[in-house]
Symmetry: C2
C-alpha cells in the first residue's frame, strides 16, 4: 500500500496512523519510505535531496531514483511481502510519474520502461493520494523545514504540475488510487483514510 | 576514446601516456574515468566499490552505474566533445557489458536498453582493450591495492568471464575495439597503443 501526494499533505503522519490502525486489527505491518528504505537507498536519498547537487540532469535523477527503488524492492519490500507482512510505503513509482514526469516533463514511456526494470510485476494494491493545492501544502511543508531540500526549492508551478499528474493517475486508475482531501484537519483526513482501509479489509475478507 | 580491461592490465597508466602522446601532437585532450568523472558520479563510485554494500542486487548495481554514466556524459563528456576536445575515458559501457553482463550474467538486452537511456547516440570512436589473463592481471592489481574493493574481491572465475566478454565484444566490433596484449612490459604496451593512436590520427587526416 502506498501513500502519495506533494510536500506538506501529511503523508508520513497518515502512514504512521494507518499502520497503527491496521496493527490494531491484528495485522503485521512494515512502514517504509522512498527514496530510501535500505542503507544504500538512504545514501542515494541524501544525494538526491542535497542542494549541493543542483544540476542533476533529468535522466540521471530518474536512474538514481530507480536504483534506490530497485534496492528497496529487492532487499526490503519483497522479503516483507514474502513473510506475509503488509507494507505501507511513503511514496513509490507514482511519485516518479508525478515529479519527474509531470513536474520535470520527462517522458512517461521512459519512466514505465525503468519501472519494469526496477520492479517487474510489482505494483501497489492500494494507493492513498492525499490531495491539496500546492499553495496550502507547501506553506505547511515550509513551516516544518527551515532548510528546504532540492525538491522543496521548486516553485509553485512545478508543484501544480506534480499535483495535476497525481490527479491524472487517480483518474486513470480509480480502483487502485483513492483520493483523500488533505485540506481538512488531521482527524478528518485520518477518518477518511480509515474508511479506505476498512473497505480494503472488507474486500479482502478480513 | 575508451580504455578497457580487467583490474591490473594498466589502463590508468596507458590513459595518461596516450593523453601525453596526443597532446604532444597538438591535440586538446580530456582524461576521465568511470564510474566517476563528476562529483555526483564519484560519490556513486564510492557506494559501488564500498565493501560495506556487499549485497547490492544486480539490477540495482546496473541502475547505479548508468546513473553515474548519465551524469558523466551530460556534465563532462558531451560538453568536452562540443568544445572540440578529445575525450579519453578509463572504462565506459563496454565495462558494464563485460562485468555486469559477462561477470554477473545480467541480460545483454537490459544493458543495451539502459545504455540507450543514459547516452543515446553516443559511443566511443575507438576502444583500446588491454588484454591479459586474470591470474596475471589480478596479481598486479593486488600488489597495488592492500584493501581490495567490492569488484577486486571477486574470484578468478568472475574475471575469466569478464575477460571472455571483452574479447567477444572485440570480435563483434573489430573496427571500434583494438586488442593490445597487456602481458608485455609497459614500454611494449605503450608502443602498441601509440601505433593504434597513430593509425586513428592518420585515418582522421591529422
Amino acid at each position: 500500500m502506498t501513500f502519495e501526494g506533494i510536500e506538506g499533505v501529511g503523508k508520513s503522519t497518515q502512514v504512521a496512523l494507518a499502520a497503527e490502525w491496521l496493527r490494531g486489527r491484528g495485522l503485521d505491518v512494515l512502514t517504509t519510505r522512498e527514496p530510501g528504505g535500505t542503507r544504500l537507498a538512504e545514501e542515494l536519498r541524501r544525494l538526491l535531496l542535497d542542494c549541493d547537487h543542483e544540476h542533476i540532469a533529468g535522466t540521471t535523477e530518474l536512474l538514481l531514483l530507480f536504483a534506490a527503488r530497485a534496492s528497496h524492492v529487492a532487499e526490503r519490500i519483497v522479503p516483507a511481502l514474502e513473510r506475509g507482512q503488509w507494507v505501507l510505503c511513503d511514496r513509490f513509482t507514482d511519485a516518479t510519474r508525478a515529479y519527474q514526469g509531470g513536474g520535470r516533463g520527462l517522458p512517461a514511456a521512459l519512466i514505465e520502461q525503468l519501472a519494469a526494470i526496477a520492479h517487474p510485476g510489482l505494483s501497489p494494491d492500494l494507493t492513498v493520494l492525499l490531495d491539496a493545492p500546492p499553495e496550502l501544502a507547501l506553506a505547511r511543508a515550509r513551516i516544518r523545514s527551515s532548510h528546504p531540500d532540492r525538491f522543496e526549492q521548486e516553485d509553485l508551478g512545478f508543484f501544480a504540475r506534480v499535483r495535476a499528474e497525481y490527479l491524472a493517475i487517480a483518474a486513470r486508475e480509480p480502483r487502485r488510487l483513492r483520493t483523500v482531501d488533505a485540506t481538512a484537519g488531521v482527524e478528518a483526513v485520518t477518518r477518511a483514510v480509515a474508511a479506505v482501509l476498512g473497505a480494503l479489509l472488507a474486500a479482502s475478507g478480513r
